[in-house]
């Protein structure tokens, strides 16, 4: 599978002007206040005399903070490992991959063993009684039934508890009812 580098999203395009203004405000508080008045204004009176626009919505600072943090570059700086460090990484990586593969194969072998023992048990059951005798193959037929496994309560929800490192404060609730 080819590695795809992340491309710019619309958020980044929307964010850049906002973030730049936020960055300049946070890093250089003095620079933004001291505006160089190179542009000649038409009016000679100061703009501070004009009343502040009450309709202008005060942007929630939390919005700009969230935008700033979402703007974080997508990939961290790439690692540069020295020769011995790289060799150690390579060794450990290969060992870990091998350990994972062994564990996975052990699990698969265990499942295969269980499946084969089920198969032989069912065969035994099927061939237990000679054909034509009373109740021939009755136990085999009952074993092959799959009543209600796909419906409600196929796996009772009481059994669906994930394993934990330590037991719960209340290991088993004896008063629980459906």
């Amino acid at each position: 599978m080819a590695v795809k580098m992340p491309s710019h999203t619309s958020i980044t395009r929307l964010l850049s002007p906002l973030v730049n203004s936020f960055r300049t405000v946070s890093l250089n508080p003095s620079a933004s206040l001291a505006k160089p008045s190179t542009i000649r204004s038409f009016s000679t009176s100061s703009t501070h005399l004009a009343p502040p626009n009450k309709n202008a919505k005060q942007a929630d600072p939390r919005i700009s903070l969230i935008r700033y943090h979402m703007q974080h570059p997508k990939t961290p700086r790439p690692l540069k490992l020295s020769r011995m460090r790289a060799l150690r990484h390579w060794t450990i990586h290969r060992a870990w991959m091998l350990a994972r593969r062994k564990r996975k194969e052990a699990e698969e072998n265990e499942l295969q063993r269980m499946y084969q023992s089920m198969h032989s048990a069912c065969e035994e059951l099927r061939l237990m009684d000679p054909p034509g005798s009373k109740d021939a193959g009755r136990l085999y037929r009952i074993a092959m039934e799959k009543k209600g496994i796909f419906g409600h309560g196929g796996v009772p929800i009481e059994y669906a508890r994930a394993q934990t490192d330590t037991p719960a404060k209340e290991p088993w609730n004896h008063e629980w009812t459906r």
Partner: protein, 355 residues
């Protein structure tokens, strides 16, 4: 070799003689399976003009090969080698499969996408491996007596009968029926095919983003907090006036979770968030796309129950945290198998179950 100084024609005669004597003695510089057979063959007249040996000399000697011991050479060095001045830098942009500089695999620490790999299994995956997998295999076991003959099934994609000469090489026809849709075949559960969680997709459509992009950013932050994955933004492909969306506007966010992240998210949902929902009976029984993917959703109140959002709930502007859909992708090939897997993990279903 002295033979290389002789002119070409003389060399040919000499080599031919040398090769035949070498074969007779049994010493051939390089052995290969067809060597003996080739030596026995008479060189035909057409091949007389060819030079018997390649013009590129390979000075291969077995003595040098026997003496090659890099470990001994490395250990015998008293002084460490100087560090090389060349530092490998992986390419910043992916320029296609034919470019000479290809990015290294993600498992390589030199890659820009390198994330130190999974160090342990999540508890849900451990539970699955130890108990749930064998339970599902036993529940779904279907015995096949030895010597069972499969009923020959009709083709799913029907070929044309060659009643007309134009049928040759014509593409096959689709399945019968009004829709003519090829459905996924439900495979039996066996030790090689046990339904497993493959990934989770978390999706949120943010209507408020049409007017104010802040809604999209906050939704993105909320999804990133909950899933741990940076969401991808998608634009509206078509404008729908009734929904109030215009074409091309960024409107929705999607996170794709895999492996440990997916298991942890499902574990969190089942054990932390869903039990806290008020008056929640279970996931709808009609959920599922007939191919083993199960979906459910959280509205705003449900999303607030996630621990990552609850802990700094006041860092979000009010009423801007969205709800989202969660789709669990499994390796099951039917809805009922997927429901069996998820109910074994603790996800309750309610209502009429539809496959």
């Amino acid at each position: 070799m002295a033979l290389q100084e002789l002119p070409s024609a003389m060399r040919q005669l000499a080599n031919r003689h040398a090769r035949s004597t070498a074969v007779a003695i049994g010493q051939f510089p390089r052995r290969y399976a067809s060597g003996q057979a080739a030596a026995v063959q008479e060189v035909s007249e057409d091949l007389q003009d060819l030079e018997p040996q390649s013009s590129l000399s390979t000075r291969f000697s077995p003595k040098k090969a026997a003496g090659f011991d890099p470990v001994k050479r490395a250990e015998g060095r008293k002084i460490e080698l100087p560090s090389s001045r060349y530092q490998y830098r992986s390419p910043r942009y992916y320029r296609g499969p034919l470019h000479p500089h290809q990015p290294p695999p993600t498992s390589d620490p030199a890659s820009r996408q390198f994330v130190p790999g999974p160090f342990s299994h999540t508890r849900l995956e451990q539970t699955f491996q130890s108990t749930i997998a064998s339970d599902l295999m036993t529940l779904g076991y279907a015995h096949r007596p030895p010597g069972t003959v499969d009923i020959p099934k009709s083709d799913r994609l029907r070929t044309w009968d060659d009643s007309s000469p134009y049928h040759k090489n014509r593409p096959k026809r689709g399945p019968r029926g009004p829709e003519g849709v090829l459905r996924l075949i439900e495979r039996d559960i066996s030790w090689r095919n046990i339904p497993k969680i493959q990934g989770v997709t978390v999706h949120s459509m943010v209507k408020g983003a049409m007017d104010d992009s802040a809604y999209l950013h906050i939704a993105g932050m909320a999804l990133q907090a909950v899933t741990g994955v940076k969401p991808k933004v998608f634009k509206a492909t078509q404008g729908v006036a009734s929904f109030g969306i215009r074409q091309g506007m960024p409107i929705s966010l999607t996170c794709t979770l895999r492996n440990n992240q997916a298991y942890e998210f499902v574990d969190k949902c089942i054990n932390l968030v869903l039990p806290k929902l008020k008056d929640w009976e279970g996931v709808e029984g009609t959920t599922g796309d007939s191919s083993g993917n199960i979906s459910f959703g959280f509205n705003r109140d449900g999303a607030l129950l996630f621990p990552e959002i609850e802990v700094n709930y006041d860092m979000y502007p009010p009423k801007m945290i969205p709800g989202f859909h969660v789709t669990i992708h499994t390796s099951a090939t039917s809805d009922r198998h997927a429901r069996l897997l998820l109910s074994a993990m603790g996800l309750p279903f309610h209502g009429k179950l539809v496959d």
